[in-house]
Symmetry: C2
Subunit: 186 residues, 2 copies
């Protein structure tokens, strides 16, 4: 990528490698956004489609688990969906940055939006993680029973769905750092 920019040549000597760096960062930014969007979509779908019905039932207890039983999981699916849509939309701006190296204000805007979405995603992921922890290990002080002992598949799926979300969280930190570097090179 650096090479292509250098070949397009243009003017001053100092500016070209810097331009190449900025364009390179923009391209990586674009790719990482696609990865993060896929991760959050995967997380939202994985959590949203999880349900387990145990093969036995009694008169008093229902043996069926869906993510809607816990408001935190609903929030998790919502936040992942919102962030996924945002990431897809932000691809337009990211592509614009690849084409127009000089744009600075839009990069600052992107840092701001990224950090808001980063916050939203992190709240969803860690709230869900806290509940998954209780689901696995329970809490004897609060007399909360670990329902994972019964709902094995359900628990595996919801634990797995956290992974995509936390991958996206890490990507957001990288995106913010890269944006800051790009802005500093102008």
């Amino acid at each position: 990528m650096k090479a292509s920019v250098v070949e397009s040549g243009e003017i001053s000597k100092g500016a070209s490698p810097r331009k190449g760096l900025i364009r390179g960062l923009s391209i990586v930014d674009f790719i990482l956004r696609i990865v993060a969007a896929t991760s959050t979509l995967g997380s939202a779908l994985s959590m949203g489609t999880t349900r387990e019905t145990l093969p036995f039932t009694t008169q008093f207890v229902k043996f069926r688990a869906v993510f809607k039983d816990l408001p935190t999981f609903v929030y998790f699916v919502t936040s992942n969906s919102i962030v996924c849509v945002y990431l897809v939309l932000s691809l337009a701006l990211s592509f614009f940055h690849i084409v127009r190296n000089k744009a600075v204000k839009s990069r600052v805007l992107l840092v701001f939006l990224d950090s808001v979405m980063f916050g939203l995603l992190t709240t969803g992921a860690s709230a869900a993680a806290a509940i998954v922890y209780i689901a696995h290990y329970g809490n004897s002080s609060a007399n909360w029973f670990p329902f994972c002992r019964q709902y094995n598949n359900f628990c595996e799926r919801i634990s797995g769905s956290l992974i995509g979300s936390f991958i996206a969280v890490v990507i957001f930190i990288i995106l913010i750092l890269m944006s800051a570097i790009s802005i500093s090179k102008h």
Copy 2:
């Protein structure tokens, strides 16, 4: 970079208001860090010192609640403490930015560290919030009982301690935005 070249030529007309803006942002940055450090310290102390013993007891059930009963609250206190220490240490860098307007690399470093600490704090705060929610409302599907019905004071304190943490979360978003603006003005 462009600006620094102009600034090294001392006076020039365009640079002065920009310098003023950057310095202004640096000062606000310094103040906000103090506020955020105080908030996280307050949250950590408030959560860490909360305990309630009910004025009656039976043979089988212990009626005493401390934050250590729930690992999520221990994580909350830990993350808030780490972020508080970080914020106090970052004051040095923030002060350096007030004195030296031109510094860019250290600002990029600060954006990176800020976003990592933002992530850490948000995980702690939202995980604790998820547990506090269960403590207040319980969950009938999982048969988790809302212990706030007994431990009123304990619950009020832990709910209140979340506030400081979320104030710091919002401040972090502002800090990252302001750093991005400062960097873009160089």
